[in-house]
């Protein structure tokens, strides 16, 4: 496994966490999410995002509402549920711990 492949596994695992953070900030639809991620290492595509979002909705982390767009099909705007907010809080806490551990270990 090359270094790049290892990173890709890490990114994949973190994507859900990042989605929670993006959706917590504002009601967004998928194109907004893609745009926000595109400038980062986490740039992704609809083909990945839609299945992940629908899995998160199934787990009760987020919900959506329909909004008509001026031209074209209606859009789904996602927002976090109470459970999603709770999970985001827990993940942030855990992430802080991991970060601390990564920095601390190996130091003498």
């Amino acid at each position: 496994m090359s270094v790049n492949e290892k990173f890709s596994a890490i990114r994949k695992g973190l994507l859900e966490f990042l989605l929670l953070q993006i959706i917590a900030a504002d009601k967004v639809y998928v194109a907004d999410i893609l745009k926000q991620l595109s400038a980062t290492e986490f740039a992704t595509q609809e083909g990945t995002l839609y299945p992940l979002l629908s899995k998160m909705r199934r787990e009760g982390l987020l919900d959506y509402e329909w909004k008509e767009s001026e031209a074209g099909p209606p859009r789904k705007y996602y927002e976090l549920t109470e459970k999603g907010r709770e999970q985001l809080r827990e993940t942030l806490e855990y992430w802080g711990k991991i970060n601390g551990t990564v920095k601390k270990l190996g130091q003498k």
């Binding site: 596994a9 890490i10 994949k12 695992g13 994507l15 859900e16 998928v30 194109a31 992704t44 595509q45 609809e46 083909g47 990945t48 839609y50 299945p51 992940l52 979002l53 629908s54 899995k55 909705r57 199934r58 787990e59 329909w66 767009s69 031209a71 074209g72 099909p73 209606p74 859009r75 789904k76």
Partner: protein
């Protein structure tokens, strides 16, 4: 020169070059195959279709109406391949949520997923008479809405429970708004394959009459505007009629009067229905030999609907005309309610004292329903 194919994506028609159409179909088919067993498969597929539709829309302009093969390929590359189990590969321990943790259960779920999308009970507004409850039940049970309505009417007539159930369902059952919900209401798959199938069948044949996208839009806009203007005109006429022909404020005296009229029509109708069920004749008119009783009952129900419709509309107009002062209106409403109660009580009394056949009629409903079902079945087979 390339052949162009018209498809429906997310509710809009798009024209693709044949090569692009093939690529899109292959993409959506592979997406469907990868999502096999995913409980949200149909929803994800229609999400993806809408996303593709938006991208197509961004490519088109007034003088560019066809998405060429190269552009379709670019859009599909931008979409990226569908990842069947997002995040689960990275976190194998946390995937128990879908209830398909064990291999056996996963297999079963997959088999169930292939059987079609899950059906849900929604109210369906298209073609509805009141709030779409009967329409929704009919779509859910895959039967003709007329029969559901008939059942509700009979329930309301006999025990009054139909009305209560209807009101509760109108409040509790959600309305199908989005394409998915509409598809889930009737169990039709809302997937591209379905749309493509329809496109192939010439479902959008009519749209081809408008090769120019602009002309098509213009036509749609004019149609909508005309419909709106018609509705306004009708409403205006209605108001003028009331203002000219009714000397008092519509509703003040009209509401209880209308209730009384409606009650009278209802009594007549129930008498007719009972005599039909009990003796096979309506007011001395015997049915022809080849007309089954349930058809006659259906005709009676429809006739009542037609008769009662203007009365109902007038009553609704009265309610809508509610203004100040409030206390006058509450008095009118109380009077209205009293009239209704009196009609109901009179009906019960009539039923108990003068129609020993009523019990017989109620008893004959199950056999009538069986007869209706048999008739329909044999008629269907005859086709």
């Amino acid at each position: 020169m390339n052949k162009v194919i018209t498809i429906n994506l997310g509710g809009n028609a798009y024209q693709l070059e044949e090569g692009g159409y093939d690529a899109l179909r292959a993409y959506l088919e592979s997406a469907a195959a990868r999502l096999q067993g995913n409980p949200d498969r149909d929803e994800i597929l229609s999400d993806i279709e809408r996303a593709i539709a938006e991208k197509f829309l961004a490519l088109l302009a007034a003088n560019k109406t066809v998405v060429v093969t190269k552009e379709v390929a670019a859009v599909l590359a931008e979409m990226g391949p569908i990842e069947a189990d997002p995040g689960e590969a990275a976190a194998p321990g946390a995937s128990g949520t879908s209830g398909a943790g064990e291999p056996g259960a996963a297999g079963e779920e997959r088999a169930a997923g292939r059987g079609g999308p899950p059906r849900r009970l929604y109210r369906i507004h298209e073609g509805a008479m009141i709030a779409g409850v009967c329409n929704g039940i009919a779509a859910y049970g895959n039967v003709d809405p007329t029969f559901v309505r008939l059942a509700f009417v009979i329930l309301t007539m006999l025990w009054g429970s139909g009305l209560l159930v209807y009101v509760v369902m109108a409040i509790v059952v959600p309305e199908a708004r989005s394409p998915e919900e509409k598809a889930a209401a009737s169990g039709d798959p809302a997937t591209a394959q379905e749309f493509i199938r329809r496109a192939k069948e010439g479902y959008y044949e009519a749209m081809k009459g408008f090769p120019d996208r602009k002309a098509r839009r213009e036509w749609k806009r004019r149609f909508k505007r005309d419909m709106r203007a018609n509705a306004d005109q009708w409403r205006h006429n209605w108001h003028c009629y009331w203002a000219e022909h009714v000397p008092f404020h519509p509703g003040m005296g009209a509401l209880p009067l209308l209730s009384l009229l409606q009650g009278a029509v209802k009594v007549l109708w129930i008498c007719a229905l009972i005599s039909l069920l009990a003796t096979g004749a309506v007011f001395g008119l015997t049915l022809p030999e080849n007309v089954p009783v349930w058809v006659a009952a259906l005709v009676l129900v429809m006739a009542y609907g037609i008769l009662a419709c203007p009365l109902k509309a007038a009553r609704r107009a009265c309610y809508r005309g509610m203004g100040r002062p409030r206390w006058v209106w509450s008095f009118v409403f109380v009077l209205d309610a009293v009239v209704w109660l009196a009609v109901a009580a009179a009906l019960l009394w009539l039923a108990a004292h003068y129609f020993p056949e009523l019990r017989e009629a109620v008893g004959s409903i199950p056999s009538l329903a069986h007869q209706a079902a048999d008739d329909i079945r044999s008629g269907w087979k005859g086709k």
